[in-house]
Amino acid sequence: MLGTKLNRLIRPLRPLARYNTNDATITVKYNDKNTTQTTNETTNNRATPSTEKVIRDKHLANITVTSFYCQSAIEQYAAKQSTRLTPLTMMYIGKTEDGTHLLRSAQYLQKDLPIRFAHRIDDFRNLPFVVACNPLLLDSHERFIKIFHTLHTFPPIKTLEQEKEFTELLKNTLSCTSDTLPLLVEGFRESKRHIKQETLVRNFLDRALTSRLAIKMLIEHHIAMRKDRSNYIGAICMSFSPRKLVESSAEYVKKVCRLQYGVAPNVKIDGHVHSTFPYIATPLYYIIPEMLKNAFRATVEHHRHSDSGLPTVGVTIAVNEDELVFRIKDRGGGMSRSVLEKIFDYHFSSSNLADNTSFSYADFDHPIYDPIVTRDNTNKMSGYGFGVPTSRAYCEYLNGSLTIETMYGIGSDVYVRVGLLTSENRIVRL
């Protein structure tokens, strides 16, 4: 009954949510205790083909989420605790001759991923009703339920063929969730007005994004274990060089900056430039370009009218036993305290405050911006408003922190700290 009411609510709003769906139709109904309810709904729903979600994937195809309410499996799983692995464990699992390491890894993922997804679904369920009915959020909610069920109903993995199928499934999961971030953030943008406590949105988004980061890292690690890249154990690069990361991020951000402004400042790297150590660089691939983007944008906009060249942005790298520190210094004019306080909020973008709108702007009808895949040329320099809060959530998840010290009229220094894999004091758990 509740399901029907929800469906009626959803129906007029469907077109908005359509833009990210694929085209196959769902044919088979989901077999669960809800069977009786599903038949009820199909007879009541007259516009069945146009209101059903469509997914091209054969694994997720045979699921219809007809009720958000009766999902007992989810409730069961949400009550469990997830096991968080330390990357050290992941490193030392090592390779066995017959591939049992792949089996073990797949079994761990099969046990743990449903729990993590169940926790996320639980978070969705606890959102205030008016917010959760936002079509984008409902879409994400539904998608998570589907992924959960797909993973949950996969038979226990005992052979290597099953493991291969499972890996395929994981790859599909990854591509399905690749646009979660913009959906969530956009979904909250409108409905935030209904939430009185500001921390609710922040906590939800922090948890959702960091959990997504962890899941992505785990899945990538599993997939990479099949490939035999030298110097890599799964997704862990054994001789990760922070300097190379900064250099490649700087190149990328320079390109985007030039596209938008026509000029771009240079980056000077100092500190422990020659250090290398084992690390999974995935989160840093998001954080460092975001911080560099902010630094570049500030530099360019502050020195817009000056004749002398743009001051360089300095990046200092420091490594000790516990943590990796990046200090990004710019001379882009700094921020006043009011802006500094808001910068850590989701949806705050100082580009919206700029009077000169021909520069950066927030334009949300653009194609999906996946922050993890950073090679997309349609990325903007700023405007979405979640670079800094997401980076901070990621840093804190990795037992680190993100601090910004600013001097108004001069510039800002950003300190990105993350825990090392081999640290004893700050054990990172994915």
Partner: protein
């Protein structure tokens, strides 16, 4: 039955002629610290805060007639009484054993005597009264220049008797906070008195507040001072670069800024020298390194001001290797950075060195001292918070540390800074 009779007889006899016990010397000595009515009364009064912008306005030249001075003197008396009482309350509240430490006890006694003398000072109504008051306050001010040093020695000795760090921190924070406000008020009054008596109108100063305070000049002065201390201690001095972005003077209490800057610069210089000493082996090499690299400074000070937030900032960035301790630890009282002390002999030497003292006495007493008992950073942070600002330290391990000192403007119409 017989037992009961025995008890009743003893009671009867004790109510008859009660002899007070003969107190031993030490008990007599300590019992004078037990409760005193006047003190209780004052310590229960709330503090009436003075706001610096009022201080500035009320000190403009047209207000400095002798009558004003008299009124100011009697106001100061009241304010000091209340604040002293609050300060003494902190002394009285710490547990017995740490409070009985001789250094802390002598400080306690000093404040107690001051309170009693101040309370005995009757109404100040004539110029003569005011003169006497001025003498008294001047003596009090000069006498208490060494309080921070005494506190640090005392707390160091009594450290193990403070059961929790929280108690120690609460005590020190309270005492230092009240002391700062007392000193600011006292200094302000003393300067006003001196100005009036000398009959010169100096519009650059409003009591203890310098209207033409230039943060850059103060920073340069502090750099020079600390460089000379550093040279005396280590025979090498790293070059410090100063970048100033404030071009107009800001009214402020110059001594506070200089005190904090000196502390921070001392920390930076010490870190740079010791870190390089370890990596280069001996002092000759360090000296050569510093000389060769004069154009690549190992320490930079950047000054800027933010008129929107009404705050001015000093950023001191050094390349001294940082400290291998967590953020909370470095701001603990009595935490001293561990610079790879190798032998016990070294440690023994450290304790013989004189302890830091305060304000103007600094140049005389502490000229040989680059670091003391670890009070520098917590006090600087306390002072920064007092002026509606902050002190943040960002460590970059094995490279250096960046200190950001922010102090709020005092001449604008805000009630954030309460003295």
């Amino acid at each position: 039955m017989s037992f009961y009779r025995y008890l009743s007889t003893t009671v009867k006899s004790s109510t008859g002629n009660f002899q007070p016990p003969i107190l031993s010397g030490i008990v007599k000595q300590l019992s004078k610290f037990s409760s005193q009515n006047e003190l209780i009364e004052y310590s229960q009064r709330p503090i009436e805060y003075t706001f610096p912008n009022n201080m500035i306005e009320s000190c403009s030249p047209q207000y400095s007639t002798p009558i004003d001075l008299i009124k100011r003197a009697s106001d100061l008396r009241d304010q000091l009484l209340v604040r002293l009482a609050h300060c003494l309350y902190s002394f009285q509240s710490i547990p017995f054993l740490p409070a009985a430490n001789p250094t802390l006890l002598s400080l306690h006694e000093r404040y107690l005597k001051a309170f009693e003398n101040l309370a005995r000072f009757s109404k100040i109504e004539t110029i003569n009264d005011e003169e006497k008051f001025y003498e008294f306050i001047n003596r009090f001010f000069i006498q208490n220049n060494d309080v921070i040093g005494l506190l640090s020695t005392g707390c160091n000795e009594a450290q193990k008797y403070f059961k929790t760090y929280k108690v120690l921190k609460g005590f020190l924070d309270n005492v230092l906070h009240k002391r700062l406000s007392m000193r600011l008020l006292t200094e302000h009054y003393l300067e006003l008195h001196k100005q009036q008596k000398s009959n010169k109108i100096n519009s650059d100063w409003r009591g203890a507040i310098s209207m033409k305070f230039s943060p850059a000049k103060a920073a340069q002065q502090c750099i020079n001072d600390v460089s000379s201390i550093c040279f005396e201690t280590y025979t090498v001095v790293p070059h410090i670069e100063l970048e100033n972005n404030i071009h107009e003077p800001i009214p402020f209490f110059p001594h506070i800024v200089e005190y904090i800057l000196r502390e921070l610069l001392k920390n930076s210089m010490r870190a740079i020298v010791e870190y390089n000493k370890v990596s280069f082996g001996n002092i000759q090499n360090v000296k050569k390194y510093f000389d060769d690299n004069r154009d690549k400074p190992l320490c930079k000070v950047v000054i800027s001001s933010d008129p929107i937030d009404e705050v001015f900032t000093f950023a001191i960035k050094d390349e001294g290797g940082g400290v291998n301790a967590s953020y909370d630890e470095i701001f603990r009282y009595m935490f001293t950075g561990n610079v790879m002390e190798t032998d016990e002999a070294n440690k023994g030497k450290i304790e013989e060195i004189d302890v830091l003292s305060d304000f103007q006495e600094r140049m005389v007493h502490s000229s040989k001292q680059m670091y003391g008992y670890g009070f520098g950073l917590p006090i600087c942070r306390l002072y920064a918070k007092f002026f509606a600002g902050s002190l943040n330290l960002q460590q970059i391990s094995r490279i250096g540390a960046d200190a950001y000192l922010r102090l709020g403007y005092i001449h604008t119409n805000s009630t954030r800074v309460k003295i």
